[in-house]
């Protein structure tokens, strides 16, 4: 059944069929509609779940950590300042190997205060040990939640997963959405049965002090688990296709890469616009393609090299920057190509910070620039008159 609904509602509906036992969140724009919809489902008895409206994101992340420790399936959602406030707990959730799911409705971070979209929030917590997935549209965002729980809860993975969707651009957009049937969802995502959890029958301890003689091994295991999740992400995407008939890619999605000389790499909703630009250029006979990164952690360096090895110009466009260095995706893609037999030319562009629109014309200009030479850290569509002296 297809219905035109708001992105936040699509996510709430998808989370509902995942049957989380515990949901905890603190409101923050543009995540609020997801939480409000979920609290309505719970209050109406449509979703048998505990909904805890806590006093901060720090509390929300802590509540889902605790819930997950008892073997419950747990969920939260936040963005921007809220995600940064969760940071301490995010590292703990990953370190304790609790497969919770969080939706991050990506938004810029302060200061100055800005409630609009970019992806600086999630890129700032990229080293926390979470699997980080990025959705291009609302159907993909909704579907990703089922996949997220399935990937994270696999006994060999046991990792938290963050589903990223662009704030406002997706959360507040109305699109036709294929609803997920509960029965099919139950088949795809069986109840969560962890091997170890807090119970009076078999008391355990989680989160103890690890001395220098064995802390490092826990980090190594974490790294290995994230690496192993690469195959799982692909596998779960295939399984999803088998059950529901929809496939948005595994680690990456390759769009019109056949014989492409120029490829734009990006993540999130802007990929939709970039695909349109690629179509238009292809119609004019230009060999342009798009590489969409669906999984930023684990970082799919093999898949990326494989997709880009025969390309002349690689253009990375991203909505975040590691200040003092470069665009983060740009940097990591460069590293993925280093020392490989084929070395495409690569340029990096920072775009759309704090909700600045990225129209097709800007993408065209970026392509022209990227094809003409090598551009490093170019801020797209800067207003020179506003930059000022300091």
């Amino acid at each position: 059944m297809k219905k035109v609904i708001e992105g936040s509602m699509a996510v709430a509906e998808a989370v509902k069929v995942c049957r989380p036992h515990v949901i905890s969140a603190y409101p923050i724009t543009p995540q609020t509609h997801i939480v409000e919809n979920l609290s309505q489902f719970v209050a109406d008895g449509d979703l048998k779940s505990q909904f805890v409206n806590v006093e901060s994101e720090f509390g929300a992340a802590s509540v889902i950590l605790g819930a997950s420790a008892t073997g419950a399936r747990a969920y939260s959602t936040t963005t921007s300042q809220g995600l940064l406030l969760m940071t301490e707990v995010l590292f703990n959730i990953a370190g304790l190997r609790f497969p919770v799911v969080i939706t991050c409705t990506n938004r810029a971070v302060s200061a100055p205060i800005n409630i609009w979209n970019d992806q600086q929030d999630v890129m700032t917590i990229r080293d926390s040990g979470w699997i980080l997935l990025f959705a291009e549209d609302n159907q993909e965002a909704a579907d990703m939640h089922l996949q997220a729980f399935k990937i994270g809860e696999h006994p060999e993975i046991m990792l938290p997963v963050m589903v990223n969707m662009d704030g406002f651009i997706l959360t507040h957009a109305f699109e036709p959405i294929e609803f997920i049937d509960q029965k099919m969802a139950d088949e795809f995502l069986p109840p969560y049965k962890p091997e170890l959890y807090l119970t009076t029958k078999n008391p355990l301890t989680f989160g103890i002090l690890a001395e220098p003689d064995w802390y490092m091994e826990t980090r190594y295991r974490l790294q290995k688990a994230i690496e192993a999740s690469s195959d799982m992400i692909e596998e779960v995407a295939d399984q999803f296709k088998k059950t529901f008939g929809r496939y948005q890619g595994g680690l990456v999605e390759k769009y019109r890469l056949d014989g492409a000389e120029t490829v734009i790499v990006s993540m999130g909703s802007v990929v939709g616009t970039i695909k349109e630009v690629a179509d238009e250029l292809r119609d004019k006979g230009k060999k342009v393609g798009v590489l969409k990164i669906r999984a930023f952690r684990p970082f799919p360096k093999e898949a990326i090299y494989d997709a880009l090895k025969n390309v002349k110009n690689v253009i990375v466009m991203e909505k975040a920057i590691s200040l003092g260095a470069t665009g983060i995706l740009y940097d990591e893609i460069k590293a993925a190509l280093y020392g490989k037999p084929s070395q495409p030319k690569i340029s990096g562009f920072i775009a759309g910070l704090g909700g600045r629109d990225i129209p097709k014309e800007s993408i065209m200009k970026v392509i022209e620039k990227g094809e003409a030479g090598i551009s490093d850290n170019v801020f797209v569509d800067l207003k020179e008159n506003l930059i000022g002296g300091k």
């Binding site: 609020t32 409000e36 609290s39 109406d44 909904f51 409206n53 300042q81």
Partner: protein, 283 residues
């Protein structure tokens, strides 16, 4: 005819920052008017006033006024303000916060700043909801009242803000409403004069979300509710308990003296700091 602008107008960043974000009829603007008049009555130099806030409709206030202002992150205004006051104790530091900003995400800072008794005046606008994010229930949403995250009524208890501040150690605690605006002006004035941590709870209304969700009517209706339910503390002393049922007290509720933190800190420095000559000699 010459139009003399109201005194409040002369304190506004009217050229750059307006129109403001508040809904027509919101109580926050009324509270701002009272605060500005209180400052004007005290003849404070506006350059000596530092207004600090977090995030929320109420926390937008400093953006619109011509003092030293610092608009920070959600829940942290009191911590930022503590830094401001310690670094420059000459500033009159006024914190503007909301029930969400000050008591939910910032609750921890709230109790500890009260306890520390640092000379900061805090004006907490209590509209019983998270207005800015669309009417979710907050730590002051009364039991069984509706929020967008409590569609069939909130099952948690609300904080008694004034009692909380008092027990945590604030030396001046008062409550006003945006209906009783002259009283509000007076107690804000007293709070600013108080040496130590002072808290003014301002009962306000968010007709856009809370009012609509709870069918409490227009902004005017909600202000009438304030008029009907607020009892001045002096009058309350003479009333039988049944007359006080479902009512709340307004006025100065608590006013005691205790050493102020910055002054105490200075005493420690004065007592233990080695005078510069000595330190030279001891090298």
């Amino acid at each position: 005819m010459e139009i003399i602008p109201a005194v409040t107008y002369t304190y506004l960043r009217s050229k750059k920052k307006f129109p403001n974000v508040w809904c027509a009829g919101c109580g926050i603007g009324i509270a701002l008017g009272a605060i500005i008049r209180a400052i004007d009555n005290l003849k404070l130099d506006r350059n000596d006033v530092a207004m600090v806030s977090g995030i929320g409709c109420s926390s937008r206030m400093p953006v619109y006024v011509d003092f030293n202002t610092l608009h920070t992150t959600h829940g942290r205004a009191l911590a930022f303000a503590t830094g401001v006051k310690l670094a420059n104790p000459k500033l009159k530091v006024i914190v503007i916060t909301g029930d969400g900003d000050g008591l939910a995400i910032g609750g921890n800072h709230f109790i500890h700043t009260c306890r520390r008794n640092i000379d900061i005046t805090t004006i907490l606008i209590n509209n019983s909801t998270y207005g800015m994010t669309g009417g979710q229930y907050s730590p002051t949403t009364p039991f069984m009242k509706i929020g967008t995250t409590a569609p069939y009524g909130n099952r948690e208890r609300d904080f008694d803000i004034c009692n909380l501040a008092k027990s945590a150690g604030a030396t001046f605690v008062a409550r006003g409403t945006v209906y009783h605006v002259t009283l509000l002006e007076k107690i804000v004035q007293q709070a600013i004069l108080k040496k130590g941590f002072s808290l003014v709870e301002v009962i306000s209304h968010c007709h856009t979300f809370y009012g609509r969700l709870n069918k409490e009517g227009t902004a005017v209706k909600m202000m009438e509710w304030q008029k009907e339910h607020a009892i001045p503390i002096q009058a309350a002393a003479k009333l039988p308990p049944e007359k006080l049922k479902d009512k709340f007290l307004i006025g100065t509720l608590w006013d005691v003296d205790f050493p102020e933190y910055c002054e105490e800190y200075d005493k420690v420095i004065a007592q233990f700091q080695v005078p510069p000559e000595d330190s030279e000699g001891k090298k």
